[in-house]
């Protein structure tokens, strides 16, 4: 496999909660709490989890939009904080969840898509020709150059944002829930577009989503996160065919799905909530919801261990 493109080592991101009379830090939100994994060159890595699991914060740490509290992230072996931001953002880009708020309503498509070139001092003529070229690549019309965002549908805007992310020819793109605010028939078009671009331009994707069906369709490997921690990492077929972690199991079982009518043993009747990232459970973070929780699980946090080649799991039932 060679060297990974991006390697994340023990990254933590805490957001302080201020309170009291003098706004001192009274507690921390443990958004990302010691996460390590690699992103291999050329793969699509899925990052899946529910709200508050830290997947968005982590992807923003990778993009240098958020400074991690500790840990290190390297890109091609270089610590990303040592790469100049403009240079890093030429090579790594991101597509956000909500295409409605991702384009400035007061700026033309030409400016918004071409901004990465404009801030790097590219001349107006070249910006224009590059932008029109990339509008064509994502299936938009060059005439859209001087239009404004409100004239476009959600799906079209997401295409525009993809073209903006591509315009500096990056080798790595974070896709943060790129289709979750789109209708299903539009989602299909965007997902197909992303797959085509990846094949044509050999880009590496980090695909962040809460939707396991989409993850399964798009990704080569999957990282499952829960409340700031990695629960399981495995190739796609392993994750779905040989699910090890009880949380991954619950996640898969919760997907409403024609093929699974039978009773699910995992879910109780009572409303159970995701734990907050502030008062964390002592041991395994999933232990309060886990049907297999033993005394050990409430005491000690399980380590992420490789139980089969390439299949890592953080659960006391496995390992050793």
């Amino acid at each position: 496999m060679g060297d990974p493109l991006i390697s994340i080592r023990d990254v933590k991101k805490y957001f302080p909660i201020r309170g009291g009379l003098f706004q001192s830090t009274v507690d921390n939100v443990h958004a990302v709490d010691g996460v390590s994994f690699d992103i291999e060159r050329g793969e699509t890595l899925g990052l899946v989890g529910e709200s508050g699991c830290g997947k968005s914060t982590l992807s923003r740490c990778v993009m240098r939009l958020v400074e991690p509290t500790s840990g290190e992230i390297t890109y091609n072996g270089t610590e990303i904080s040592e790469i100049p931001r403009k240079e890093y953002w030429r090579r790594a880009q991101m597509v956000f969840q909500d295409p409605r708020s991702s384009l400035n309503p007061r700026l033309t498509i030409g400016y918004s898509v071409g901004e990465p070139l404009i801030v790097r001092g590219v001349g107006a003529e070249e910006v224009r020709s590059r932008v029109t070229e990339f509008l064509g690549i994502v299936g938009m019309n060059p005439e859209h150059f001087s239009r404004y965002p409100h004239e476009f549908s959600g799906g079209q805007r997401q295409r525009l944002l993809v073209s903006k992310a591509l315009i500096t020819d990056p080798e790595f793109i974070v896709l943060d829930e790129p289709t979750s605010s789109l209708d299903v028939s539009v989602q299909a078009k965007i997902l197909n577009l992303l797959n085509r671009l990846k094949a044509e331009r050999s880009i590496t994707y980090l695909f962040v989503s809460h939707d396991l069906s989409v993850i399964k369709h798009m990704c080569d490997r999957v990282v499952v996160m829960y409340v700031g921690k990695v629960m399981e990492i495995a190739p796609k077929d392993e994750i779905f065919g040989n699910t090890l972690h009880p949380y991954t199991r619950l996640l898969i079982d919760s997907i409403p799905n024609p093929g699974a009518k039978e009773e699910r043993t995992m879910m109780g009747r009572e409303s159970i909530e995701l734990p907050s990232n502030i008062d964390l459970p002592m041991g395994c973070r999933f232990s309060p919801r886990c049907p297999h929780a033993s005394e050990e699980c409430t005491r000690a946090q399980p380590e992420l261990v490789e139980v089969e080649p390439g299949h890592f799991v953080a659960c006391h039932m496995y390992g050793k």
Binding site: F96, S101, N104, M140, N141, E151, K164
Partner: protein, 294 residues
């Protein structure tokens, strides 16, 4: 792969949207009346020398206290000056004061608010505490004190009102900036490599313009009122200026028998302010229905 090209249902260029807004504004008879009033005021101020039949400052002691008539539409005052001509010329004073004050306040307030909202942290806290202090004075009272310190006259009034008004704009723009800053496209602009100045002025400011325009249009009325009040209290425009508030004050003594001396300038203030308020209400509804204010 050009499947989605045919579906731009509402392909309206920017100026069409503007025209649409204007049409929407004028389609409401109440806002249209406001716009007409404002236009009339602007025309009066611009054409004052042609509209006013007499010199507003010409004293004629033989012709004092004349009743309103064909010759003197609004009568004459205690020095025999034509009240109509004075009201017409007074529009220039009020508009000048109102607009200059708001330009001062909005430019200063916008820059401060933009920086505070975008930078956040201690810069923001400091700016907010400073505006707190300015806003701790009841409206107009600080302006009175500042004008008193600067000495009488219109210049002091404009300075004093500008000083008391900017914190309102700073707060408004800061609030807008905070909400725009949360938009995804700001993060997107950072990823493009855009710097702070570009983000503030190219990305955030245009999204605050609607709020600024609405606020200014609503505040013109207030500044005209404030300036007139200061004139009435003798701290603003000085004799023999045809400023409306001053005219009201000098007519107050003759209220019993010569009611017209202070009634007509008062009416002029009232109509100007109401026009700006109607226009402001209409603009708010058209440009930004979320900006509801008292």
């Amino acid at each position: 792969m050009t499947t989605e090209q045919a579906e731009t249902a509402e392909a309206t260029p920017r100026y069409q949207e503007l025209r649409h807004s204007v049409r929407l504004l004028l389609s409401n008879p109440v806002s249209a009346a406001g716009a007409a009033g404002v236009l009339l005021l602007l025309l009066t101020a611009a054409l004052a020398p042609y509209i006013a039949p007499y010199d507003p400052l010409a004293i004629n002691l033989q012709g004092r206290f004349l009743d309103p008539s064909g010759e003197h539409l609004f009568g004459t005052d205690h020095l025999g000056r034509d009240v109509f001509s004075r009201v017409v010329w007074g529009s220039r004073v009020s508009l000048t004061v109102g607009l200059i004050t708001l330009i001062e306040a909005s430019v200063l307030g916008t820059i401060v608010g933009l920086v505070a909202g975008y930078k956040g942290g201690w810069v923001d806290s400091l700016v907010m505490r400073i505006t707190d202090v300015f806003l701790a004075f009841p409206s107009i009272i600080l302006a009175l004190a500042v004008a008193a310190a600067l000495g009488r006259g219109l210049t002091s009034v404009m300075m004093a009102l500008g000083i008391t008004w900017w914190p309102l704009y700073a707060r408004l723009i800061r609030g807008q900036t905070l909400s725009v800053r949360e938009e995804q496209y700001i993060e997107g602009a950072r990823l493009s490599g855009a710097g702070g100045i570009r983000i503030m002025f190219k990305h955030i400011l245009p999204n605050c313009m609607a709020a600024i325009i609405v606020q200014i249009s609503m505040d013109v009325g207030f500044t005209i009122l404030a300036a007139a009040s200061m004139g009435f209290l003798g701290i603003g425009a000085q004799h023999p200026s045809p400023e409306w508030g001053l005219q009201c004050a000098s007519g107050a003594k003759y209220l019993v028998y010569q009611w017209w001396i202070s009634t007509f300038p008062g009416l002029a203030i009232f109509l100007s302010v109401i026009s700006f308020n109607l226009l402001g209400d209409g603009l708010r509804d058209v440009l930004d229905p979320r900006l509801r204010r008292g």
